[in-house]
Symmetry: C2
Subunit: 497 residues, 2 copies
């Protein structure tokens, strides 16, 4: 039995290495690679992905998993070995259902579609993108056909990002949230942006500030990097090798909030139990849980009043020309200003969820065929008018704004809002355990906060399902109430410091 387990671990470690190296090559492509390298890099990535899939779905892996069933059942289900076999079996059964050719075709078309999407967005030309969206949808249906039917077709897509989560659970939460957000946004929206929020904020100072803040959050430069990209993201190639990226613009503070957001993702990956290194358990458990941590550090910490009281003198020293006659309270209010807009990634805490809900609903309708790609821009714009009260002026800032449908990421969007919901569920438990967390933040002390998250959330890695993980951390299932309470408290009576 131990020989079978050792052989399984050896094979899984090899596959994990291939996957991590692939992530590193993708990071390199986006952050470092000279443009001319793109064509060959695509081939290299296809080879890596194909090999990882081939090695993982090797029938011998399935045989070992079968042989290890009695051993697994003899173990405490919480043990590392039981978790490893359980999670690997689940992954193997999913991966084995999808033919290598289909995976390769999805990747290939997605690659072409992303290029066309970028051009279509730049020209606000939805018609250019539409045939590629049709191809992506057709391939997504072929993917769906690889699996046994679920209660809802969308369950199969959601499962790739939030394993085990059902569309009905998400819908119940979103249906609870939607009218509350619509009402709150209408109540507290404030269209007047203070002039100091447009800077100019010199880039070098912004970078220094981002580094200063994420260092305090726990990003040590022996294990983290912070680079610049067009679209900020975070990637990790080991718990000890975390790559954050952000973007800089002299006229706004995206770099700072982007850095805090990506740092949250990075701290999650960095905090996974090192005993899980080079196993399939070694990463955050789902997109939703991951987003809960990026949003926790970006919003619950980084847009809080104590945080801005701590950062204020440093911020003022970084941008003295802009910060004449601006108080800590002014800044706090300004970074929490609510205003319905067209663009998800620029939106505030109150309206963000509505952007996601629009996409969640449209994705289900696209997959069901009740909305066609021909109708999509109109359906998009109608829903923005309904939920956010804004008239979308063109497809560039409308249906073409997000990259996700171009890379065939149907099922991804809802996890953004699940992240917001979960972040507050976790935060409420954290406040019980660290009652003076606000005072610590105001003193620039983030160690106890980070340590609690690490030992209660991050260390678990993928040992348990997202739902099990939420249950273990919070003692309850997915629940919209803490999130709604948080928004009401922070925004209901107007933002107060």
């Amino acid at each position: 039995m131990n020989a079978a387990l050792a052989e399984l671990k050896r094979r899984l470690a090899e596959v994990h290495d291939l996957q991590q190296v692939t992530l590193a090559m993708e990071w390199d492509q986006l952050v470092m690679m000279p443009h001319g390298g793109a064509e060959v890099r695509a081939e290299q990535l296809a080879t890596m992905n194909g090999l990882a899939h081939e090695r993982f779905t090797d029938p011998e892996v399935g045989r070992l998993l079968e042989e290890l069933r009695p051993f697994e059942e003899s173990l405490d289900p919480d043990s590392d070995d039981a978790s490893l076999v359980r999670v690997a079996r689940r992954d193997w059964e999913k991966a084995s259902r999808v033919p290598t050719e289909l995976t390769a075709e999805i990747t290939r078309v997605a690659s072409g579609a992303q290029e066309v999407w970028a051009e279509a967005r730049a020209r606000s030309d939805y018609a250019l993108f539409r045939p590629w969206l049709d191809r992506n949808l057709e391939l997504r249906h072929r993917y769906i056909d690889c699996f046994d039917p679920e209660a809802e077709v969308y369950d199969i897509l959601l499962d790739d990002y939030e394993p085990g989560m059902k569309t009905a659970e998400v819908r119940a939460v979103f249906d609870r949230i939607k009218p509350e957000l619509i009402a709150l946004a209408a109540e507290v929206a404030s269209p007047d942006e203070p002039a100091f929020m447009r800077g100019p904020f010199p880039e070098a100072e912004q970078e220094r500030l981002s580094r200063y803040v994420v260092e305090h959050f726990g990003a040590n430069w022996n294990n983290f990097r912070l680079d610049r990209t067009v679209h900020p993201f975070c990637s990790s190639f080991a718990t000890t090798d975390i790559r954050m990226t952000t973007r800089y613009s002299e006229t706004d503070l995206h770099s700072l909030f982007g850095s805090m957001h990506e740092c949250g993702h990075g701290l999650y990956e960095h905090g996974v139990d090192p005993a899980l290194e080079r196993t399939p358990l070694c990463s955050g458990v789902s997109s939703g849980l991951h987003e809960s941590q990026s949003r926790l550090w970006e919003n619950l910490v980084g847009r809080s009043a104590p945080f801005w009281r701590w950062l204020y003198p440093t911020f003022e020293a970084a941008f003295p020309a802009v910060m004449t006659d601006v108080t800590a309270d002014d800044l706090y209010r300004a970074v929490n200003r609510v205003e319905p807009s067209f663009i998800r990634v620029d939106s505030d805490e109150v309206t963000y969820g509505l952007h996601v809900i629009v996409r969640f609903e449209l994705e289900q309708e696209l997959i069901a065929g009740t909305v066609t790609t021909a109708d999509l821009p109109e359906a998009w714009n109608a829903r923005y008018a309904d939920y956010l009260g804004v008239e979308v002026p063109n497809d560039q800032v409308g249906v073409l704004q997000d990259i996700h449908w171009s890379f065939n990421g149907f099922g991804y969007f809802p996890t953004y809002q699940l992240g917001n919901v979960i972040s507050v569920q976790i935060w409420e438990k954290l406040v019980e355990a660290v009652p003076d967390v606000d005072a610590q933040i105001e003193a620039g002390e983030f160690a106890e906060l980070g340590a609690w998250l690490r030992s209660n959330v991050y260390a678990l890695g993928r040992r348990f399902t997202p739902q099990e993980t939420i249950e273990r951390v919070t003692g309850s299932a997915l629940d919209a109430e803490p999130y709604l309470r948080y928004l009401q408290t922070k925004y209901g009576a107007g933002v107060a410091a």
Copy 2:
């Protein structure tokens, strides 16, 4: 037959992708990776190397190569397909002789030995490094035992860097060179370094200057990067994705000469016929040929009088404080000053070859056992006294100075000096084809020079052996005379502009 060829190409492309990705991960480790990532990165690299070796030495590859023998014989040997099958067979037969476990063990021990070497060098403590050197030598003998006996044991080591080259050929050339260099160095050595050569040269200006020069040489930023590292190197992951590195010190001009050197390597890789992309033919043909190109751009161009007449005004504008009362001719003489020293990488064109010859001789004696690792420092110092006329004060600047023996790179050193020899053989042909090359360089025009090298040398890739490549380009075999003529002309009567 076409099906067999297509299948062979598919498999070779996959192996090539794995190897290029491995190079990219090594570049990342040296240039970008946070230190903490080293442990897991070592595992990832071991997985990648192991997999590339396993896939390449798959018996099915051997069977395809056998099946394709009649097809290969039916083709023009110069054709791409014939070259592909011929070179792949040679590689396959070599790789198949070495057990995967031995390759892995060599890599593992080399990795440990490199760490110990770095510490031993820092502390000038040869005794610390010696057991690792013994292990490396023992493993190198096990490697040698995988192959049929050659006329000289060292042939087997040399073959890894200079395929097909024999120790006797190298020895003949080096024996011709050695007394000439010793005599010339004694004649023209000049111990007085002009004060302006110690700067200070601000790093930002040095970087701008390096970029300016390599851009003129043909390094376009759509396909090249230039980053900083501790030990400069160049790596390529595709003909379209070239990564150069250099290092900066305010008190010398290493960054500029290092950049020109690595640019030579990069231009070679960039100039390989794109039709060879993702095949085993897609790289420079050997370490010696590669070095011929780095040295050609660094020395034959970058230390030439017309080059310095061209660069002088830009150089002066970059470092105005240092350059008061310094003429172009002063600069040219200063960057060509000859002085026997301890350190190979800092040495001038005249004495460089003697550093290499010391190592070439000692390597053969170590492998033969006529010098033991116990005797090595003494043997090293004696030879430096003999050939270079210098007393080595300690092992840090003596036997511990180079990394090569720590990574088990026995056989590598001679290719450095072969590069110098070959560079001038090629340069003489180039001057026949481009008679006004000096005038072009003085005008800052490098396009015709680069194009000639590209079409006559770089484009060939690995189609032919190093010797065949030299023959095709120069019409003669390896030959020390052009190199000796060049040194005599440039240095014999004292350096003259």
